[in-house]
Amino acid sequence: MRTRAPYFFLAPYLAFFALFWAWPVVYSLYLSFLNTRVYPWRLEFGTNWSRLLQDPFFFVALKNTLLILVVQVPLMLVLALILALALNSTLLRMKGFYRFAFFVPVVVGSVAYSATFRLLFNTEFGAVNALLRSLGHPGYDWLYTPGPAMAVIIFALTWRWTGYNAIILLAGLQRIPRELYEAAAIDGANFWQQFRYVTLPGIRPVLLFCLVLSIIGTLQLFTEPFLITAGGPGNATMTLGLYLYQQGFRSFNFGYASAIAYTVALLAATLSFLQLRLWRER
């Protein structure tokens, strides 16, 4: 049927989309070529991008972000997959309890749990060190030593996002037709073979979705390092997100911050594309 109704229905969304998404995507690319430390802003193609390539702080932030990405995302997704498999299994009792325990972090705000994790990992009185000491370990100066500080960020992220991914993976598992497992069982496939040849291919697209989402999310990590460690000690937990915030909204150097933002976008696009290629169904 022919009617102009759909255009009217789409108009308000498209107006806000144009203003707050389409124009910004283009404008921040443009900004990344502007020298915004002079007034009025001046188009200088090299300024921000060549600074980026020589900026040791940027590379520290990049290294830290990639480190978190490489360690935290696989750790979390494996854990989430195990959880999803357990919650999908007929062997597990008290599923309601487990679902609540692992899934409830999805409603907890980053500020609320960052504050809590800061207390839990306090060196003198934190619950974690108290537990470690009771087990005969001296504990760590968590927030003030580089390695452990990074570990705290990784723990916090894992606590917050494992359930989120498990929810998505579980939904994927529940959509695998039961007959496939029955057929596999009739063919004499053991647990591992069923996992390898039925489960894994069945949830591949969902797993890929989680992976790409986690990559994009981790590359933009901000609140946790900002509130738990303030990027410290030194710059040990400085992330790209935190550095962008400092450059953009502390120094108000929008041009340079936009160059950082586009680096994140390029990284996200490249990594996502690589994953899609790597995991593409053969």
Partner: protein, 276 residues
């Protein structure tokens, strides 16, 4: 065989139970700290049972920052942006699902493409727009506006409306109802559970958002709850029990909602990941 299943089940339970308790520990301790006097937080071993100092801690928090005001700001901002975003998403989702029109494929691919754009690439121009062009810093609208266009919402509502039998809408057209009326009086009421799921996720996202309100709000009276708490975290002479009260108050309503309405949260979270 029965025996083997029993032992497997027991083994799984023994493996998962400690992990589940570990997962609940941060929230439980948040609650415990919120109800214990300040000095208990700094005590070893860590107290594990709630105390009776909740009201004192709340008073301390209120002295550090006007938290009730911040909660109210959060409610207003989250509520209004949820209303707006749900309306815009369902209007667009309806248009994309029910009609055939020129440019449809283009609009839909825009929506899908937006889902993959990192937020960082838009946050700086959004800030320039809201703060400099519109002069909306320290206003509710300054916080709300960027949340109104939500591509995931459009994508989700399109899926929802696609599953609606078109015969229902056609019957209304035969009766002479306008398209807008069909949308509001027939289509929307039929998808209320999905709307609720979407609204819940939208509300939660804005409620918990930190970076954007941090950028556009600098006056204490306008702080949302996360921003109000966030400013306290870096300070030295501040009531940590108070911060825990604030965190607890921010979290509790949604933990309770999650307990009763898990299905809706799950529907909102899996939107986009699972093809219906």
């Amino acid at each position: 065989m029965r025996g083997r299943r029993f032992w497997l089940s027991l083994g799984l339970q023994a493996l998962l139970m400690p992990l589940a308790l570990l997962w609940l520990a941060p929230l439980w301790l948040m609650f415990v700290f919120a109800t214990r006097p300040e000095y208990d937080i700094f005590r070893v071993p860590t107290p594990l049972l709630p105390g009776t100092a909740f009201c004192d801690n709340l008073n301390n928090l209120q002295e550090d920052t006007d938290f009730f005001r911040a909660l109210w700001n959060s409610i207003v901002v989250s509520g209004l942006s949820t209303l707006g975003a749900v309306l815009l998403s369902s209007l667009s989702g309806f248009a994309l699902a029910v009609y055939r029109f020129r440019g449809q494929a283009f609009v839909f691919s825009l929506v899908v493409l937006t889902l993959t754009i990192p937020y960082f690439t838009v946050v700086i121009p959004q800030y320039i727009l809201v703060a400099r062009e519109f002069q909306l810093t320290n206003t509710y609208w300054g916080v709300i506006l960027p949340f109104l266009a939500n591509a995931l919402g459009v994508f989700y509502m399109r899926q929802v409306f696609l599953s609606l039998p078109s015969s229902l809408l056609d019957a209304a057209r035969v009766d002479g109802a306008s398209e807008l009326r069909i949308f509001f009086q027939i289509a929307l009421p039929l998808v209320t559970p999905s709307l609720a799921a979407l609204a819940l996720i939208f509300f939660l996202n804005v409620w918990n958002d930190y970076l954007w309100p941090l950028l556009v709000l600098s006056e204490k009276e306008m702080y949302t709850a996360p921003v109000a708490l966030g400013t306290l975290i870096g300070l030295t002479r501040v009531s940590w029990a108070g911060i825990m009260v604030g965190s607890f108050l921010m979290t509790l309503p949604f933990a309770v909602l999650f307990f009763f309405l898990q299905r809706y949260f799950v529907a909102g979270i899996t939107a986009g990941a699972i093809k219906e």
